[in-house]
């Protein structure tokens, strides 16, 4: 175990050192990445100023969804960049994966250590700010139950997105080009989960409930945290399914 972590740190360390070399580029990169999240959020704030609510959710409540998803996706993207289907597909095509397979170390560990992108910090940081804003303005009634469930939901989200990345990555063994379609599940899933699920058409919602259980990861836990009613009316209490769905996909 010590050996594995040591090795992982060493692989990551190389990545970090090489990226820090171009300091100005790293700075603009982090800034640009953070700006993506923040500009989308500012746009959202403008929109809510005009519209008020979406399906009964106000800006602070949507910010809770958005902040959680952005932070979790950012953390995942940092840890699992090696499995980013675009990047992984390229490695497979160039035959670099074969190189890794020859080495006498666990392949998952090597892929995880093969890419670590510092600029994701920008996204995580902005996600946290948005989440803080949301929690601050919502005045959630924090019970011990909620306090302890929040980190679990977060971990489940990270595992869920990570699982999707790995699924997408393995698909590239069969496809020639890295396929953009998987982005529908990863980036599309993240975008979708940033809003209350009740706004989507039925077919889409079913797909993201039964095929990809995205709905259990953010929408239902959020309903619990924010004490909201569920207009979709599942026949059972789905608020606590996040860990099952998240780690199941993983």
């Amino acid at each position: 175990m010590r050996y594995i972590f040591g090795l992982y740190w060493r692989l990551i360390g190389v990545q970090i050192r090489s990226q820090v070399q171009y300091r100005f580029n790293l700075f603009t990169d982090v800034l640009a990445t953070a700006l993506v999240t923040i500009t989308v959020f500012i746009s959202l704030a403008f929109i809510f100023e005009r519209f008020g609510t979406i399906a009964g959710w106000n800006l602070s409540e949507v910010a809770f969804l958005y902040g959680m998803v952005e932070t979790a996706f950012g953390v995942m993207d940092m840890l699992f960049s090696g499995f980013d289907p675009q990047n992984f597909g390229r490695q497979v095509r160039l035959g670099r994966l074969d190189q890794l397979l020859l080495r006498p170390v666990n392949i998952t560990l090597q892929v995880l250590g093969s890419e670590f992108i510092i600029r994701r910090v920008g996204r995580i940081f902005q996600g946290i700010i948005i989440l803080t804003f949301s929690v601050h303005s919502l005045q959630i009634d924090w019970s011990i139950m909620k306090m302890s469930y929040l980190p679990i939901v977060f971990a489940s989200l990270v595992a869920f997105f990570g699982g999707l990345f790995i699924i997408g990555a393995t698909i590239t063994f069969w496809t020639l080009e890295s396929i953009e379609v998987i982005n529908i599940l990863t980036y599309g899933g993240a975008e979708m989960m940033s809003y209350p699920m009740s706004i989507y058409p039925l077919g889409m919602r079913r797909f993201f409930t039964y095929v990809i259980p995205a709905i259990f990861l953010m929408y239902y836990p959020a309903i619990y945290f924010l004490d909201k009613g569920d207009p979709l009316g599942l026949p059972f209490n789905a608020n606590f399914f996040a860990p099952i769905a998240g780690f199941g996909v993983f």
Partner: protein, 263 residues
């Protein structure tokens, strides 16, 4: 001029060769369009008209803005930067053709392919799934065509300009990404600019960005016409000229700096 069209044609062919990638991109753009349409429908709720845009037009807006992603290359474009780092820029520069036109021709081919195989299918898909609006007169179609071409020209000259950063920096991805973020924020791609506060709209009108996406959308929806249309077109022309001139100036300075070893 013959070389120009030849380059355009080659670039077009390169784009259409990867059929699976084209379809995948199409599906992705369409899916995101559906998401964005759902969000707007959810926001509208019982409302009929907001900021002069009714719900049908709002849904159409998501279609048009998704349709132009490929055409205007809204998310990323680092082809020129890459040639600087691989050294291919050297052989491009000694070609008996202006460097600017060399890239313009290729980007035109790319844009035409993206128009035919992305923009049009997305709009057809939208027409099948949603109840969308269409330009309702010949003049409006004509205006749309002109505005789209100008939007492409502005987009190209802007992308060309930020890619030139590669002549100065060992890694320009950060600064280029920065440019694209500004572009999507001010262009009205995230949401129609009309929904934003007035001060923001005024601020954005001092940048070239709204003349890429927002103008195209507004002309398509018929939100601007007559004098407003003329003004928008005028602004597009001015920005295209400014960006091309600045691009050429910066290019000249960049080439002077360029040192290529080996041979």
């Amino acid at each position: 001029m013959r070389v120009f069209w030849e380059l355009t044609r080659r670039s077009f062919q390169r784009q259409v060769t990867y059929r699976a990638a084209t379809i995948a991109g199409l599906l992705t753009n369409f899916f995101f369009g559906m998401l964005r349409a759902s969000v707007l429908i959810g926001l509208y709720g019982q409302r009929e008209v907001v900021a002069g845009i009714d719900i049908r037009e709002a849904v159409t807006y998501t279609g048009v803005s998704q349709a132009v992603i490929g055409l205007l290359s809204l998310f990323s474009w680092v082809e020129l930067m890459n040639t600087v780092y691989t050294g291919a820029v050297a052989s491009d520069l000694i070609k008996p053709m202006s460097y600017y036109r060399f890239w313009l021709a290729q980007d035109l081919g790319r844009a035409v392919a993206q128009f035919g195989f992305r923009a049009v299918p997305i709009m057809i898909g939208y027409a099948l799934v949603f109840d969308i609006t269409y330009p309702h007169s010949l003049e409006q179609w004509l205006a749309l065509a002109i505005v789209v071409v100008m939007a492409w020209l502005i987009s190209f000259s802007f992308r060309f300009l930020i890619n030139l950063a590669a002549f100065w920096m060992p890694n320009a991805t950060g600064i280029i990404r920065f440019g694209f973020v500004l572009m999507s924020f001010f262009s009205g791609f995230i949401m129609p600019l009309r929904f934003f506060p007035e001060w923001f709209v005024r601020l954005s009108s001092f940048t070239p960005f709204p003349y890429m996406v927002n103008t195209v959308v507004e002309v398509y929806l018929g939100l601007v016409s007559g004098r407003g249309l003329m003004l928008a077109l005028f602004a597009q022309i001015i920005w295209a000229i400014v960006l091309i001139l600045v691009g050429k100036l910066v290019l000249r300075a960049g080439i002077r700096r360029l040192v290529i070893l080996g041979g």
